[in-house]
Amino acid sequence: MTLQSLFDVITARIGPLIKIFLLLLIFLYGVFAAVVVRQIQLMNKVVNEVNFSIILFTIALTHFMATVILFLIALMIL
């Protein structure tokens, strides 16, 4: 068996593992992003700046949605 074919065998076996690992990582990060959104929502009740609080919440929500979309894309194309 040549080195290249050995390499091919190894990557064929660990390829799916890498994909599952990456999906799990994105999922866990999505949980973190959700926690950030919730924390901002709660903190906006503690300290509320009428003009900026909604902007900050929107940015955090957009970040969370981007993570969700990334997860779905990764699920489809990987």
Binding site: T11, I18, K19, L22, L25, I26, Y29, F32, A33, V35, V36, Q39, I40, M43, K45, V46, V47, N48, E49, V50, N51, F52, L56, I59, A60, H63, A66, T67, L70, I73, A74, I77, L78
Partner: protein, 213 residues
């Protein structure tokens, strides 16, 4: 006969809503906090000076531009990356930028934004947003404040006029530390003015009570 024995009423400047997160706001408009009383007015709304955000901003910029520099030489440094499909590379790069935005930028910003120090006409409130899963809110009444100390040290702090204000309270109440706030001398001065007014109000109400008795 001119009115010379009547105390001049302190004219409160008209409050304007804060449009952008401020480090120092006197009589801010459009700001409320959770336990604010109905007749309680915010006199000072403080955060750490914006210059304290420069380290994480620079780090975030470095992380954002790092792929542009590293990617062309990635195959030389990490030969196994030649095995990555274009889809995997795209997902990894997108994930990298999402993580940089979330952890390096958003979390750092909210750490600065939600760490506030509030001085009202009745008390001092310290909101400590330590991290995403831990926060602390402490408050003390103005009549329990015994001492206000200002400390400014270092070239950068002197240049940008920011420093620490230490508020010592009586008894078992916790002390309040305002770290890296803009215009610390003015902050201490404003606190002392508010404390004096609170004492005057207390003195008047005690006098009224005695007269009624």
């Amino acid at each position: 006969m001119p009115d010379i024995f009547i105390e001049e009423k302190h004219k409160m400047p008209k409050s304007r809503n804060i449009m952008f997160p401020a480090g120092f706001a006197l009589h801010p408009g459009g700001v409320h906090f959770d336990t604010q009383g109905e007749n309680e007015e915010i006199h000072l709304f403080l955060r750490r000076h914006f210059i304290t955000n420069v380290p994480w901003i620079l780090f975030a910029i470095f992380l954002l531009i790092a792929p542009i520099i590293v990617l062309p030489v990635m195959e030389t440094i990490f030969p196994f990356t030649t095995l990555f499909t274009s889809q995997l590379s795209f997902i990894l790069l997108a994930f990298y930028y999402v993580v940089v935005f979330g952890m390096a930028i958003l979390v750092s910003f909210i750490n600065w934004y939600f760490n506030v120090y509030i001085v009202t006409d009745q008390r001092v409130v310290d909101v400590d947003f330590v991290n995403v899963i831990y926060r602390e809110v402490a408050s003390t009444r103005l009549n329990l404040i015994q001492d206000v100390t200002v400390k400014t040290s270092g070239v950068i702090r002197a240049f940008f006029d920011y420093g620490d204000v230490f508020i010592q309270t009586a008894g078992t109440e916790a002390n309040f530390d305002f770290h890296a706030v803009p215009h610390p001398q003015q902050v201490a001065h404003e606190i002392e003015i508010i404390m004096q007014k609170a004492r005057n109000r207390e003195g008047v109400s005690n006098l009224e009570k005695q007269l009624k008795e």
